[in-house]
């Protein structure tokens, strides 16, 4: 029953509302810019990630509990849950040597 409920959820609920102020972040040459993102603590936010590279990248962070693939030359929204104050590192999994960043919640 629980599962049926989850299946139906997308049909029942309105399109997910994006937070009014999505934070723009760009990925170019496998580097995030800005690489340090400041958010308000204890309040959910959205990062609008634009991938200007030709190849796909996975925005990956176990601290933020996010895995999101953004295809080459496209963009995607990464939802960040309400965070306790602190630093939450993230990376582009496919180019982790250069694609590094941190979300700072204050």
């Amino acid at each position: 029953m629980k599962r049926t409920f989850f299946f139906l959820l997308p049909l029942l609920m309105p399109a997910p509302a994006f937070a009014d102020a999505a934070i723009p972040v760009t990925l170019q040459n496998h580097k995030f810019s800005p690489s340090e993102i400041h958010v308000k603590a204890n309040s959910p936010t959205v990062i609008a990630l634009t991938n200007k590279d030709a190849t796909a990248e996975e925005f990956d962070s176990s601290a933020l509990q996010v895995e999101k693939v953004v295809a080459g030359n496209s963009s995607g929204n990464v939802r960040i849950r309400a965070l306790a104050p602190g630093r939450y590192p993230f990376m582009g999994e496919y180019h982790s040597a250069t694609a590094q960043g941190v979300v700072v919640a204050k």
Binding site: K2, R3, F6, F7, L9, P10, M13, A15, P16, A17, F18, P44, A54, T55, A56, E57, E58, S62, A63, Q65, V66, K68, V69, V70, A71, G72, S74, G76, N77, V78, R79, R81, A82, A84, E93, Y94, H95, S96, A97
Partner: protein
């Protein structure tokens, strides 16, 4: 080369552990290799499709297509695992008894072979699509280091397969009488972890907004992105900082499977014809 090796190794063990458990759970079942092989094949094909259409998939459902897709296939896998365990609880004992008398090979679990094939397919698809995207990225970039990176990928694949084989043969050292109890337990935890992961994808897709506060944080003890952390994440659903909804989904899945197994396991003997008086 090292980064390619690590990424491919990580994804391959994550899928491979699940394949190892499924293989152990279906030990002795005829046509098992066919079902698992089909699962792996379909998973690889699906992974390529998902990788090719990653952009299109992501843009569905107001940009939440990827999250919905992941949640849906995880929920499908949870249902298949539940079905397998419940079916085994109701028929396993009965069939083992009959077959022992008939002197046949153990064929318990044949009915749910297709279900486990689906689980294997889902696991390979999820992890495989990441490998495909990563390797495609390398190939598209070109450059001198290409050969090294691809060699790293091949090594990662081999190492991941070796760890998965270790899991399978390790499980096979368990005496046959207890093996199915162990695999049932592993499958229950696997399903619970997948259910919690599905909830996370629904949250990240913006579809589930309740109980999103972090309940505890054990990243100081075991980081989820370390290799042991990832192994435990795959096997028992370890999450370093779970929120309320993930914990509820995890526990609810375990309770649902155990209760269903108890209920059907109890009914099975009663359903057998009573000896004439």
């Amino acid at each position: 080369m090292l980064s390619a090796l690590l990424i491919v190794f990580r994804e391959v063990i994550e899928a491979g552990l699940i394949v190892g458990i499924v293989l152990a759970a279906t030990k002795g079942v005829p046509r098992r290799d066919f079902a698992v092989g089909m699962g792996v094949g379909a998973g690889v094909l699906g992974a390529c499709l998902v990788a090719v259409f990653a952009g299109g998939l992501a843009s569905l459902f107001q940009g939440s297509g990827q999250e919905l897709f992941n949640a849906a296939i995880l929920i499908l896998a949870v249902m298949m695992l539940t079905w397998h365990n419940v079916w085994m609880a109701s028929h396993g004992r009965e069939m083992a008894r009959e077959l022992k008398a008939a002197g046949h090979e153990v064929v318990t679990g044949r009915r749910t072979l297709a279900a486990l094939g689906v689980v294997v397919g889902v696991a390979v698809l999820r992890e495989g699509s990441e490998v495909v995207l990563f390797l495609y990225g390398i190939a598209a970039q070109g450059g001198v280091s290409n050969a090294g990176l691809l060699a790293g990928g091949a090594l990662g694949l081999a190492a991941g397969a070796a760890v998965s084989a270790l899991m399978y043969f390790g499980l096979l050292t368990i005496p046959a009488g207890r093996l199915f109890q162990v695999t049932s337990g592993l499958i229950t935890l696997l399903a619970a972890g997948m259910a919690a992961q599905a909830v996370l994808f629904l949250q990240n897709g913006g579809y589930l907004d309740a109980w999103t506060g972090t309940i505890w944080d054990t990243s100081w003890l075991l980081r989820e992105d370390s290799i042991p952390g990832r192994l435990l994440h795959t096997l028992v659903g370890y999450v370093q900082a779970p929120d309320g909804a993930q914990i509820v989904a995890y526990l609810a899945t375990i309770i649902a499977i155990v209760v269903l197994m108890r209920l059907t396991g109890r009914q099975a003997p009663a359903a057998r014809p009573q000896p004439a008086e």
